[in-house]
Symmetry: C2
Subunit: 365 residues, 2 copies
């Protein structure tokens, strides 16, 4: 069946979520407020999302019996991370709607197919090249001025699975360190800033895009997202338009995160897409407290086949991730007048682990 | 120990909630966003709050073994309804903090002790009289001009357990119908409008009161709450001040709902308190979408011993309860641009049953 003909959930129906981290937890909170039940499927015991799920399954993504039991108890399946194994998604999609669809997953799980898809859709990207041999790498480095970022095509995140090459003589070393195959080289972009857009598409094809966000990273992990971003109005409009073109090309259902580079200044300012994430996105957490409808409710509405809400923003906001011990400051943050604290209920704090976030709000005037 | 010396919860601790209805469900959603766990104790199978509780106990409030097991698993106890049996509250309070305290429960469970307490605290009330005999009733009716509302002292709600007396000749009939003892007669007030205030008090004694709300009832059930209320600024300030005086006099911890009548107009406009509810209150649901911190988060912060948030309101709002079949309109409401739908996940819709509510928002300019 086409997604536009897909079943619409009723209040009281159950949304199945693959993955039990903070994104699953915040999706479950949003589903609850809409009178929907949540069933979380996750292999890690004590996952944060279990605390707010009506039902949870502690199981491996390869356990087809557990997946069948899960599929029999839910009305639609979504996920909180892009590395859901392809066979898991396919197994479930043969039994009930999986939103976003397996196509979006397949595209997003491989940096090369993602970039091939985006350029085929007419989206501007930084230069990239498929790297399966040192010869591929040398040729690409020559094209890209002797430097670039070498990345594994699959399973990279937060800076893992990549190496910066600034000196072509060091290329062989990086090539070997990353396994010597299934790699991609991305040209280094002299970007002015990093931005992103979260957008939603419903089963009927309606698209809603939130305001462009300016992102700052520390140690390859998102640290802050600021809205409004320091970009021109044309760039802000273009960012939403690009996100809309991507979700439509993917026949997408749900929230997508689109990371972009701002290149050039003034009349020359323009956007190059860096990567997409087929799920609710850390750079969209600000929508919880600066918009009437958060990215989490928007995603739940979309996967339920319900009308999307407006993405109208009532406040300016800076979202700050609380990494590791930073979350120990919770009491001080709670006492800040315009701060909204969000904690994920993770039992153990570890360096580099996202423990929560805070949205600092300034009502628009 | 005094409440101000009370233990402060840490993220990951567990809040025990007595009662599993929509108020418990919305409290659990708010606790989750703050990284706290919830354990719901309720005698009704399939209670809405079970869906978002990390743990739930299906047990009777008189089952002391179940209460002991519950007490052993939680760090603080609160409740979503005022008719928690006194012995249940006392049994738990002997083991761990119960917030709001048993004193507030005892006062609020008996209309007579509630009014005696309020007048002792210097709060203006409508005339009332203790009624244990027809002679009491005749004398009180004479004082109140031959009419009044006769009510049972305990367990009345949504218009149940009360009778309007407009003709003294019918007094005996009403007296008998309500059991002929443990009654209270309230003078009829020619009020201009019904209003309420929800306020919170923390363990350190800090008080935060939300804006006064104008309420309209249908068939004795709250239908809409509108903010701002159509009252003068002095009356609005007075309402918050009255609520503050009440929570302080009760050494209260958590959210309280204070229902009042507006009497007189212009310079003559003033307030008479009707009743108090020692819990989050239906007339405070608007805070979910018109304030940075909702009454539910505020209550969780208070019972956790955490700093309270500001009650600042960023939008004007009308909250409408969805009663019975009205909730079948969910899809139309979802499509309204400035509406925020909240559904309670109740399996069965019955006439007069609160199935959800909608907050219709107008950002302040």
């Amino acid at each position: 069946m086409t997604e536009s003909a897909a079943r619409v959930l009723a209040p009281g129906d159950t949304i199945g979520i693959l993955g039990g981290g903070q994104l699953g937890r915040m999706l479950a909170e949003a589903a609850s407020a809409l009178g929907l039940k949540v069933h979380v499927f996750c292999p890690e015991a004590g996952s944060p999302a279990f605390d707010v799920a009506a039902v949870h399954t502690l199981g491996a993504y390869e356990d087809t019996a557990a997946l069948d039991a899960f599929a029999a108890q839910v009305d639609v399946v979504t996920y909180e991370f892009e590395n859901v194994p392809g066979p898991t998604a396919a197994h479930l999609a043969a039994r009930l709607p999986v939103r976003p669809g397996p196509k979006a997953l397949a595209v997003a799980q491989d940096r090369l197919s993602e970039k091939d898809f985006l350029s085929a859709a007419g989206i501007a990207l930084a230069g990239y090249a498929r790297i399966d041999s040192l010869a591929d790498l040398d040729a690409a480095l020559t094209r890209f001025g002797g430097q670039g970022v070498l990345k594994t095509r699959r399973f990279g995140y937060d800076g893992k699975g990549q190496a910066m090459i600034r000196d072509a003589a060091k290329a062989g070393e990086a090539f070997a360190a990353l396994g010597g195959k299934d790699l991609i080289l991305e040209a280094l972009i002299p970007f002015v800033r990093e931005v992103s857009v979260v957008a939603a598409r419903g089963v009927t094809g309606e698209v809603v895009a939130y305001d462009i966000t300016e992102n700052h990273h520390e140690h390859h992990i998102l640290k802050t997202s600021t809205v409004p971003a320091n970009v021109g109005m044309a760039t802000a409009d273009s960012a939403r338009e690009i996100a809309g073109r991507i979700v439509t090309a993917l026949d997408y259902v749900g929230i997508i995160g689109v990371e972009m580079f701002v290149v050039g200044t003034g009349a020359d300012e323009h956007l190059l897409v860096n990567e997409i994430a087929p799920r609710v996105h850390n750079s969209g957490h600000w929508t919880q407290d600066a918009c009437l409808v958060s990215q989490f409710e928007q995603h739940i509405r979309a996967v339920a086949g319900w009308p999307l809400g407006k993405a109208t923003r009532h406040s300016d906001v800076v979202m700050e991730n609380l990494i590791g011990a930073e979350a120990d400051d919770w009491a001080r943050i709670l006492a800040e007048p315009n701060a909204r604290l969000h904690l994920y209920g993770k039992a153990e704090s570890r360096p580099g682990r996202k423990m929560g976030h805070v949205n600092r709000i300034t009502p628009k005037r």
